[in-house]
Amino acid sequence: MSDANVPLLSVQNLEVAFRTQDGIVPAVRGVSFDIYPGETMAIVGESGSGKSTTAHAIINLLPGSGRVTGGEVNFQGRDLTKLNRSQIEDVRGKLIGLVPQDPMNSLNPVHRIGFQVEETILANGLASNRRAARKRAVQVLQEAGLADAESRLRQFPHEFSGGMRQRVLIGIGLSSHPELLIADEPTSALDVTVQKKILDHLAELAAESNTAMLFITHDLGLAAERAENLVVMHRGRIVESGPALEILQNPQHPYTQRLVSAAPSIASTRIQAVSSHDDLGESIEITDTAGAADLAAVGVAAAHPVAESAEPAIEFRGVTKVFKIRGTGFSSQRFTAVDDISFQVPKGTTMAIVGESGSGKSTAAKLLLRLEQKTAGSILVNGTDTDTLGRSELQALRRQMQPVFQDPYGSLDPLHNIGNTVAEPLRVHDVGDAAFRRARVLEVLDQVALPASVVDRYPNELSGGQRQRVAVARALALKPEIVVLDEAVSALDVLVQAQVLSLLADLQSELNLTYLFITHDLAVVRVIADHVCVMEKGRIVEQGTVDDIFANPQEEYTERLLSAIPGAGITLGAG
């Protein structure tokens, strides 16, 4: 029975460093916080902030090159950093549980689920023989919300979906009713509706056994919704900490302020373009004044002028795409990825197609780009049916439509320097001579706020956000009318994401671009789009203007998606 006034876990001045090729690099530089029994705390930060490292250091689960170089981790009267290997192995699992980040890779693929649950139970002393362990394992899976627990035990991880695997991992983490559960981005790899269910379930289980929880997340909204207290980390240090709601409604530290104003779930209106072009400099500077004025996001109520023009830039009429997948032997199955979808995108606006995995949204984008051939229906660009076009006309069409893809680490050829990559569209379509192309490359890099020196660099010298900007620059090189963005910001950190979105908005107003924006994140839709189509399993469930859909969702699926946005229900005061 723990004394409610004594912290369960007390981290004091924790320091962690990694040994790399470039020497010893500190990752956590003096972090201190306390967690009380039954409390839920969240550590929020971008990648590289040290949040995950801190959490893993608590139970000494650092990779081989990492070491705790200073500070203490006091848990139940002991300093965990001073324990030897078998002592810490005792603490892990039994007293402090772990739910890992990536459910797809956190279970051993060659052992059955039951095996992996049972070995935990046996190792943590919850059962003394195989049979008792088996019974306990069934209980664990049932509590984790898996139906058919008995038969599930005999299955292998690859037979489970991501959500189911995470449930198993949560079950394992809570199986010995530990005092503290560390959850490292437990739902970031899952679909948003699954996320909500799992987090709700987790909260329930933790409340039942009064387990304290330490959430690691990059999502401020999620942290606000699920945790009482919040710690914000930046570059290995804590910049702000305190009660979650208070921090979100009244962020004091400039970094927290940036995060709050950039978090799409909390931002409530569409990004408006910065009205004057002079404001774009060498890099998008965010000054340290309160309320990120330069991001021009929250609070600006000006309506976005929608150009009235004759025909829509993009129109889909009854488009269907059926894939034939070769099954075992000679059979082949038909899989309908896109089922009779129709929509229109007016020129100069942004249409978002939102859906979870398997909804067909990416396929729709590929159909427009002609990376896949549609099975039925017609696609019109600027009023012309693409089926009627000959080969050279199609090539001309490609100049009008350019893509930006999701993976910043795969979207640029690592063996070509930036200049070559951005110039490639110009070369392929035989535009201008070398001098002209060089000038155009510099022009377009300037538009995405990258310095000219980047031209000789190679992709792996740039960060994810910078690479995406290069991808945008490449897309703009030919002065297209339409840009198709397929999850283009999904892999980026919150602040970088906001920066890229803001850039996209500016470019749209300046160049009168039409965007087709594919995303799974409804919160981002709110911030970037005018119209939205909600897709589920290949069909459009609902479509309309963003304001309408968010204020008055008609379909149950749309409602579910909206309510699943973490932190959407939190109203903020002025920043």
């Binding site: 192995e89 699992g93 772990l98 190792a123």
Partner: protein, 309 residues
């Protein structure tokens, strides 16, 4: 799982047919008359020539000969050598010896290779690791026949630990030295592969999770790290086997082991085309079967593979 087995079996058939065809073509399609080759420097008389042609069906067109050969193969008749001996009988005599040698070599290379590789992988950059990497590098570089002579000279002749050549009846102890030599090259590969595999597996998320859920090191290493590391080692066994076949041919010659390899070696020297074809065919068939078994073993080790085409 049965689907997987059946698919593998089906795939093995064209490979078998293709491989046997290739062997047959190699021997009988290349320029050079096999009968003249048999006689070496001497010249056969017309009568001898005609007799041999008829007996070995060499007067038939190529495809007919191939079909006859395949037909014989399926009935288990491996034909007769140019010297008149039955290949079946030769193999019955020599095969068990080679089998023992091979099994011994496989056991040595796997057991020691995995153990050394595991320790090297877990203790990366330690003295043990560097030394074992160096030794394995040397073992890979030194050709098997050189290794055989060195071993024979030092361990057999100078130090007298083992018999330099195998005695009649081939007791197991006599096979130790040839087995060690035969195992050496693959041992080096197994060590490297296990080490690389262990290092990679050790970093996987599920290993970190295994520790995170409270398992002790004593459990995580064998049950999670080693078990998963064995998958690439298993798939490598097929290539291992190919090396073993070639190595056995050489090793048996040097240590005077009366096995299949030695017999093949002699047949090559004598330019005995029918015998070469038959023995090589049998070896290839065994190789295909072993490959099949290893594929099946892989399916057992990695359940994901049973459901993928």
């Amino acid at each position: 799982m049965t689907g997987y087995i059946l698919r593998r079996l089906l795939q093995a058939i064209p490979v078998f047919l293709g491989a046997t065809f290739l062997i047959f073509s190699m021997v009988f399609l290349l320029p050079g008359d096999p009968i003249l080759a048999l006689f070496g420097d001497k010249t056969p008389t017309d009568a001898q020539y005609a007799a041999l042609m008829a007996e070995y069906n060499l007067d038939q067109p190529f495809f007919t000969r191939y079909l006859i050969y395949l037909g014989d193969l399926f009935t288990g008749d491996l034909g007769t050598t140019f010297r008149g001996q039955s290949v079946n009988e030769i193999l019955a005599r020599t095969f068990p010896v080679t089998l023992r040698l091979a099994l011994l070599a496989i056991a040595i290379q796997l057991v020691f290779g995995v153990i050394v590789g595991l320790i090297a992988g877990l203790r990366k950059n330690s003295v043990f690791d560097h030394v074992s990497m160096l030794i394995s590098l040397l073992l890979i570089s030194v050709p098997v026949f050189v290794l055989a002579f060195v071993a024979q000279f030092f361990l057999g002749i100078q130090l007298g630990i083992f018999r330099p050549t195998v005695s009649r009846g081939v007791p197991w102890m006599d096979l130790m030295l040839p087995a060690i030599v035969l195992a050496a090259l693959n041992f080096a590969y197994v060590v490297r592969l296990t080490r690389a595999s262990v290092i990679e597996t050790r970093q996987q998320d599920f290993v970190r999770m295994a520790f995170g859920k409270g398992l002790s090191t004593r459990r995580v290493i064998p049950v999670h790290v080693l078990r998963n590391s064995m998958i690439p080692v298993t798939t490598n066994l097929a290539a291992d086997f190919g090396i073993l076949i070639v190595g056995a041919t050489v090793t048996e010659g040097i240590f005077n082991v009366p096995g299949v390899g030695n017999e093949l070696f002699g047949a090559i020297r004598r330019h005995d085309a029918p015998e070469i074809v038959s023995i090589v065919t049998v070896l290839v068939v065994i190789y295909v079967i072993v490959n099949l078994l290893i594929d099946l073993l892989y399916g057992v080790l990695d359940p994901r593979i049973r459901y993928v085409k």
